[in-house]
């Protein structure tokens, strides 16, 4: 089974290569040779930009050559619709594909549709972001607690998380590499005059805006994104570059454990259909320890990590002590800090353990907290 999974990952890339070569989209593969690109939110099966490093591609080709035909077929059925969409996303506007994209793009805002778990995850992630950001200010306006803050939502998809942050008063920039998602998001916010002014969407990737927005944001939110990124290190570096000193980075993602394979992939995708098939690859899940080490090595001090649990029967998320499935992390970019951060927001004991563990943390906040 392990071998099969490995094959399916590489087979997936293989298939993408085969198809892109078949359709003659050479420009696409060269354009996508950037080291750190990501795709959008977890539960979408809109195309994920899956670039690969050129050398990797050759190795994959060689390995996949040995796959059996049956295996390929199985993977084709499993992956085919998704990969087909991917490969046509940035090329010629194929009318049937556009129609499918539009149907998909509409699904973002159907609260009882396929993105329902993401909608209900807002009940957890918006308070998480809001409360941790409020800790950094002395007082706030009631009604618009995040006013004056500039937030970047990386991989915003249809704007599910961007809009609540905008309603709370922040100026939010949402970026996503898929044009259709940005269109949906733009269209949805256009009906609300207040959100229209506070939110700005751009169809681009994080690297493309790093130069122009260096140290521009009070907070960066990467929710359900890092499990789709190839090069996590570079992604975190870019996040760090666009953050102001003392700014916050919020990440929600899935842990890489046996349990997350069993529940997150086998159960959620293949059995229960909670998540569309092909959304996730287990290899790209990130454990909190790995994430923390990357964050720390890039000068971001981890403030809290908290587990999240989804109840598929009720459709609600809950905070949990257990981080073996989904978890949320909050890190702060070390830098000049004007005032100590008040310590009233304790997250289920995880924070205390983390502070105990993170003895190598060089952040000034750490000492202040202790």
């Amino acid at each position: 089974m392990w071998g099969g999974r490995k094959l399916s990952c590489s087979g997936n890339r293989f298939l993408g290569v085969v198809i892109s070569r078949y359709r003659g989209t050479q420009t696409e593969s060269t354009r996508l040779i950037t080291s750190a690109v990501y795709s959008e939110n977890q539960f979408s099966w809109t195309p994920q930009t899956k670039p690969w490093v050129f050398s990797e591609y050759r190795i994959m080709w060689f390995k996949s050559y040995r796959m059996t035909f049956a295996c390929l077929n199985r993977i084709k059925i499993y992956r085919y619709p998704w990969t087909r969409l991917y490969s046509t996303s940035r090329t010629t506007v194929d009318s049937s594909e556009v129609k499918t994209f539009l149907a998909l793009a509409h699904r973002w805002w159907d609260e009882q549709g396929i993105y329902a778990p993401l909608h209900s995850m807002n009940d957890l992630r918006v308070p998480f972001i809001r409360d941790n950001l409020l800790k950094t200010v002395a007082d706030h306006q009631p009604g618009k607690p995040l006013s004056g803050m500039k937030i970047l939502d990386v991989g915003c998809g249809g704007g599910l998380l961007t809009e609540p942050l905008g309603r709370l008063g922040a100026s939010v920039t949402g970026i996503d590499p898929v044009d259709e998602n940005i269109n949906t998001a733009q269209h949805h916010k256009s009906f609300d005059p207040i959100l229209d002014k506070r939110i700005e969407y751009r169809a681009c990737s994080l690297e493309e805006i790093v130069e122009e927005t260096t140290e521009a944001f009070d907070a960066v939110v990467a929710s359900e994104v890092v499990e789709h990124v190839i090069d996590l290190e570079t992604f975190i570096q870019c996040c760090c570059q666009v953050l102001k000193p003392g700014g916050s980075l919020f990440i929600t993602t899935i842990n890489k454990t046996q349990l997350s394979y069993a529940l997150g992939i086998v159960f959620a995708e293949q059995i229960a259909g909670i998540v569309p098939k092909g959304t996730h690859t287990w290899e790209k899940f990130v454990s909190p320890e790995k994430l923390e080490s990357i964050l720390e090595s890039n000068g971001l001090s981890v403030q809290s990590v908290a587990g999240m649990l989804y109840n598929p029967f009720s459709g609600y998320w809950h905070w949990s002590e257990n981080t073996s499935l989904n978890y949320a992390a909050h890190a702060v970019k070390s830098g000049v800090q004007d005032h100590p951060v008040p310590d009233e927001f304790v997250f289920k004991g995880e924070t205390e353990e983390l502070r105990g563990q993170d003895s190598t943390n060089a952040g000034a906040q750490e000492e202040l907290k202790k």
């Binding site: 308070p127 044009d179 269109n183 269209h187 009906f191």
Partner: protein
């Protein structure tokens, strides 16, 4: 559906990064220019005005736009009228807490209200009775005129006029609901057309327009309702002599319950539910005959039968044997001397319950959602309870940056209140039916039941707690 997809595809293609044209066959061209309100409360009665007030005073709503639509004219009082109004409500402690949370209770205290400390409910067909009171004789509830409450609410609405706009003499004549599924070319808000032709849009519409709710009918929400063959007669009565008057009296006659609610040391308010014919008679008969009718309704033992009396006495001995401490003898309410001229009025009674309290971008509160018999004095209190629950859910949603019309928190409100209201409606209806008869088996059942309930204090406390939420 396929046609719409094709249409949207055609529209989306040229307008790649921007928004597509927003005109659609369901909307008119002025759509984009309408103000988008966050909440519109349709109906400016006790419950509607209190809802607008509560939202206006909520901290998380301080940058939101709220509109209250009232079909009637603005009522302005320079000073409190000396004559008492004949429409009064019994306000439970829970409702009083809600009213004080946005400062209306202080205005009421400055005007007038009457606290009552005990309630006596007894049967016309037997000696059984039940008395409710709090252990340390705290206030059980308050009798306040409806006009006084409205005045207090108007004052508090004016205090937050930067957030809450009140439109008088405005009645909504048409509603257009959004599609349940966001479509590319239609506005996701509720469109309301007013009588004068103007239109507005809102993210959440709260229907508080009474038991014949136009909002509920426009939304097509099924309403389970039936008419009781009863009308309630209300009047303001002068007592024969001044008393402490802090007891609420209610007697169940076979034709319907009669209640005397204290207003002041010398004044009480009457609520007498009886058949339509008798109600019409009562309203039109001479004052003296009316007063005599009231007094005999409270005092006469004409409906007693020996059998029931002895059965009741038997149980009474048993109770006294088991619980020798508490013996409450039946007290008689104060006698009535005369009635205020022009204060007699009657209105029909019925029961109603909406099958759904919420739809996407719609919530029903107050009588629009539920209509109850006044015998338990719970009608407006249920409405205030709805307000507490809905404001709690909306406030939390606003603090989480949620779309106010989203079903996720509206269903929380619905579950909350339907549980409470259904139980209360069922209990009130059951009581009404149980006490509308003088058939011996039922009389026996209810006599013993009432006496037993009166003896079990924890049960009484539970009843009081449920009713005063």
């Amino acid at each position: 559906m396929a046609a719409r997809l094709a249409l949207s595809r055609w529209r989306a293609a040229p307008a790649a990064a921007g928004r597509g044209p927003l005109l659609s066959c369901r909307r008119w061209s002025g759509a984009k220019a309408d103000t988008v309100y966050d909440v519109v409360v349709s109906g400016g009665g006790l419950v509607g005005a209190a809802m607008a007030c509560a939202l206006g005073h909520d901290t998380h709503f301080c940058d939101k736009k709220i509109l209250l639509l009232e079909a009637g004219p603005k009522k302005v009082w320079e000073k409190l009228p000396e004559t008492y109004s004949n429409r009064v409500s019994s306000i439970s402690p829970g409702s009083a807490t809600l009213l004080s949370s946005f400062g209306a209770w202080d205005h009421i205290c400055n005007m007038r209200y009457r606290a009552f400390r005990r309630m006596q409910v007894w049967d016309a067909c037997s000696e059984a009775l039940i008395t409710f009171d709090k252990d340390n004789l705290d206030d059980m509830g308050y009798i306040v005129e409806n006009d006084v409450i409205m005045c207090a609410l108007s004052k508090q609405l004016e205090a937050v006029s930067d957030r809450v706009t009140v439109l008088y003499r405005s009645k909504a004549v048409g509603y257009t609901w959004p599609y349940p599924f966001p479509m590319t070319d239609s506005s996701p808000w509720v469109h309301i057309t007013l009588g004068d032709g103007s239109t507005l849009q809102t993210k959440l519409l709260i229907g508080a327009d009474g038991h014949n709710s136009g909002v509920r009918q426009a939304a097509g929400i099924q309403n389970i309702s039936w008419n009781y063959d009863q009308s309630a007669v209300v009047a303001t009565l002068h007592l024969s002599e001044a008393t402490e008057n802090n007891v609420a009296w209610q007697r169940f006659l076979p034709s319907g319950p009669i209640a005397l609610l204290p207003l002041s040391d010398t004044l009480s308010s009457l609520v007498w539910s009886t058949s339509h014919e008798h109600a019409a008679e009562l309203v039109s008969m001479e004052e003296e005959k009316f007063v005599d009718a009231i007094n005999s309704a409270f005092w006469s033992d004409a409906n007693h039968t020996d059998f029931i009396d002895s059965a009741g006495t038997m149980l009474q001995y048993a109770v006294a044997f088991l619980k020798p401490t508490k013996v409450s003898a039946r007290q008689l309410p104060p006698s009535v001397a005369r009635v205020d001229a022009r204060s007699r009025m009657s209105f029909p009674l019925g029961l109603g319950h909406a099958a759904e309290y919420v739809r996407p971008r719609l919530a029903l509160i107050g009588d629009a959602a539920h209509r109850v018999h006044p015998l338990a004095g719970q009608g407006v209190n249920m409405g205030f309870g709805d307000i507490s629950s809905l404001v709690h859910h909306l406030s939390a949603a606003a603090f989480n940056g949620k779309d106010l019309g989203s079903m996720s928190h509206l269903t929380g409100y619905e579950t909350d209140r339907q549980r409470h209201n259904t139980a209360l409606l069922a209990a009130t209806d059951l009581l009404k039916r149980l006490y509308s008869t003088s058939a011996t088996p039922l009389v026996l059942l209810r006599t013993w039941g009432l006496q037993a309930t009166n003896a079990v204090s924890p049960l009484k406390e539970q009843i009081m707690a449920f009713a005063s939420k």
